[in-house]
Symmetry: none
Subunit: 401 residues, 2 copies
């Protein structure tokens, strides 16, 4: 880290904005450089043309030809101030904790590793609620723009019940399911956050201008892109990784075949978050994508009402809040089923989830869920042939796996 430019200081903030203007958010090369050297030094290096990654070099050269990155960042920050929008960077108190998981997300998309999945460098935020607090207990509800009455109805019911339970309903601000999710939360007096794929000064779609204003009154408008950025097609895919990572779980209500929702769900599953799917009539084109996700992902779960969504995400939220510390107390804060799974694990060596299910007399899906929790908590590790107890602090173990 460049000691002269402390993280969160004016230079760090301006550099992050300029970097986001130079390269799309999530860029692996940029993020890695920022992690290593800090944002200001990375910006110097990029503008100086010292860029090993050829694609990034070409992109930076093209952008630099169109304008000066530092100047653009300055303009964006002034315009944001006038709009009442603020910039949030990782060193800020309100930075959302969960997006850090994107640092290690690897998505193999047909042989080619998807590189654009790294954590955001900054967020632009409109709305007074602290971003981190808003996202800590949040559920994404996403789905088709061309939603049916069925999808709109179910989404509204889910969103209002979820927000009445004190959870933030997060979505993408689009027509259809997204809008029904935001409206459902608002109608219940709850809070909702829209994560946009363009500058937060650009209501996209324009028909949602007043909806976005209402969202910002009690909730938040959030974007990684600088003020003025256009909602280009590829940005929605980049944005979707934030929806997947920032929330405790994601629900898909309606989706057409081969939709963006399936892509978002891949990220949700890769991040070990609950991937929840609302089924629908098999005769409806708008449920084809939902059923596809369920057929293709054994870990995707059918949900039919808000209680089932809360059941999936609630335990994770509660669990995060009371992560057990010492090995001698590791069972104390666990729910009964999770404790049972943990007890069934052998002291040494690996075991398959199927074997745990048989031993603990739990169904396999429950076991897999509980194992995910235990893995997140660092109590269990995956091995070549199943799972094993993680080495407890201060205790040496020989992994038989």
């Amino acid at each position: 880290m460049a000691g002269a430019c402390p993280p969160g200081g004016p230079e760090d903030r301006a550099a992050r904005v300029a970097l986001t203007w130079l390269a799309e958010p999530g860029n692996r090369a940029v993020w890695t450089l920022v992690e290593q050297a800090g944002a200001p030094a990375t910006l110097d290096r990029l503008l100086g043309g010292d860029i090993p990654d050829t694609r990034l070099r070409a992109a930076v050269a093209a952008r630099s030809a169109a304008g000066d990155a530092r100047r653009m960042a300055e303009i964006a920050m002034r315009r944001a101030e006038r709009l009442g929008a603020r910039l949030v960077v990782p060193s800020d108190d309100e930075w959302p904790r969960r997006v850090a998981d994107l640092a290690t997300l690897e998505l193999d998309t047909g042989g080619r590793i998807n590189a654009d999945t790294r954590p955001p460098l900054c967020f632009w935020v409109r709305g007074s609620w602290p971003l981190g607090e808003a996202l800590e207990r949040s559920v994404a509800i996403i789905g088709a723009r061309a939603a049916t009455n069925y999808g709109i109805h179910v989404t509204g019911e889910l969103a209002s019940a979820i927000s009445r339970n004190g959870w933030t309903v997060l979505s993408g601000g689009a027509f259809g399911i997204d809008a029904a999710a935001h409206r459902g939360a608002l109608s219940a007096g709850g809070r909702t956050a829209a994560v946009l794929a363009c500058g937060i000064d650009r209501p996209y779609p324009a028909g949602h201008t007043s909806l976005f204003d209402r969202i910002a009154e009690s909730g938040l408008l959030v974007s990684e892109w600088p003020i003025g950025a256009e909602p280009l097609r590829h940005r929605f895919l980049i944005r979707n990784r934030v929806i997947a990572a920032a929330t405790a779980g994601t629900v898909v209500v309606e989706a057409a075949a081969r939709s963006g929702a399936a892509q978002t769900m891949n990220r949700v599953l890769a991040l070990d978050r609950p991937a929840m799917v609302v089924p629908g009539p098999v005769t409806s084109a708008m449920s084809v994508g939902c059923h596809e996700i369920l057929r293709n992902n054994p870990y995707a779960r059918v949900v039919t009402c808000a209680d089932e969504v809360l059941e999936e995400i609630g335990r994770i939220g509660e669990y995060y809040a009371e992560a057990p510390r010492g090995p001698e107390r590791r069972h104390d804060h666990l729910d009964e089923e999770t404790a049972l799974v943990l007890e069934t694990l052998p002291r040494n060596g690996s075991v398959t989830p199927e074997r745990i299910a048989a031993e603990a007399r739990l169904d396999l899906r429950t076991v897999l869920r509980r194992l995910s929790l235990l893995e997140i908590a660092g109590l269990v590790v995956r091995t070549a042939d199943g799972v094993a107890l993680a080495p407890a602090p201060g205790r040496k173990r020989h992994d038989a796996g």
Copy 2:
């Protein structure tokens, strides 16, 4: 085995009928004795009162008080002959192979092992098709009696497509989904089998008398119970094990909460057969049971069409369900960079290649190459001051989700 009474001979057949009259089919103690000593010796022993199992002793005593088992069997066999029905026993060529799997089926229903899951001792059959051949390539389609229009429609489509593919559609002959399954197969000129929970001389429900006649013309009516047996409530649960075991897989279309379908699916899963579930609207009471099965059984699989059912039950590679395709868009065939260039073009008016390069973060040479391709494809035209989108009917932008 008692050598004096060869399996499949008149004494063996009559004894099996009498045993089914004395104790309900699937009875573990009776089946075990028959396996050890053959049916005639088992009948002798039961009628002699030498019964270690107390529940069975009480049942046999109660039945014996109501009539003579051998005499009842004789009457049933004479009546069956008049009806054109035949008795099929395990040593017959047409005995269905798969029901043997019931011999080792263990269902732990909340601590109590369910005892009534052993293979049938015999089947009564109406229809000329050999039973084993009919069931070898068969799929069960089951579901609610109080089915909705949605369930009836989906069942009809599934059953007719499955039977057109040369598979027997098997169901239980009840109102609702069962009837829709039989009718769907018949309407496609296919064959269907109804497995009843009463004597095959008793059309139950009575409203299905003519449907049963049509089923028997080209397909089969099948029952374990002797002619004259009543459709008692508990017999449906006993019958369900045969539906699960005799078929290559079972599809549930609609089911209410905590329905018999869930119980049948437990047997299907315990037998390692494909357990397939058609989802429906979460707002429909008739799909609650389907979603329940999916949520409780990680091995239950969502199916939405006949191809997906055939893929599950067919041999690997014999059927392969095509992934549903969304409407083809012009971007679908473009590489990432070309799509990006196309996205960057303004909806109206011209733009310079330099500007595109800056916006898309691509180098100018790449942009010029992509523009040439797009021009050849007729998607882009040259203008006095750069390039512009070619007019295209129904062109949509920003349609990524």
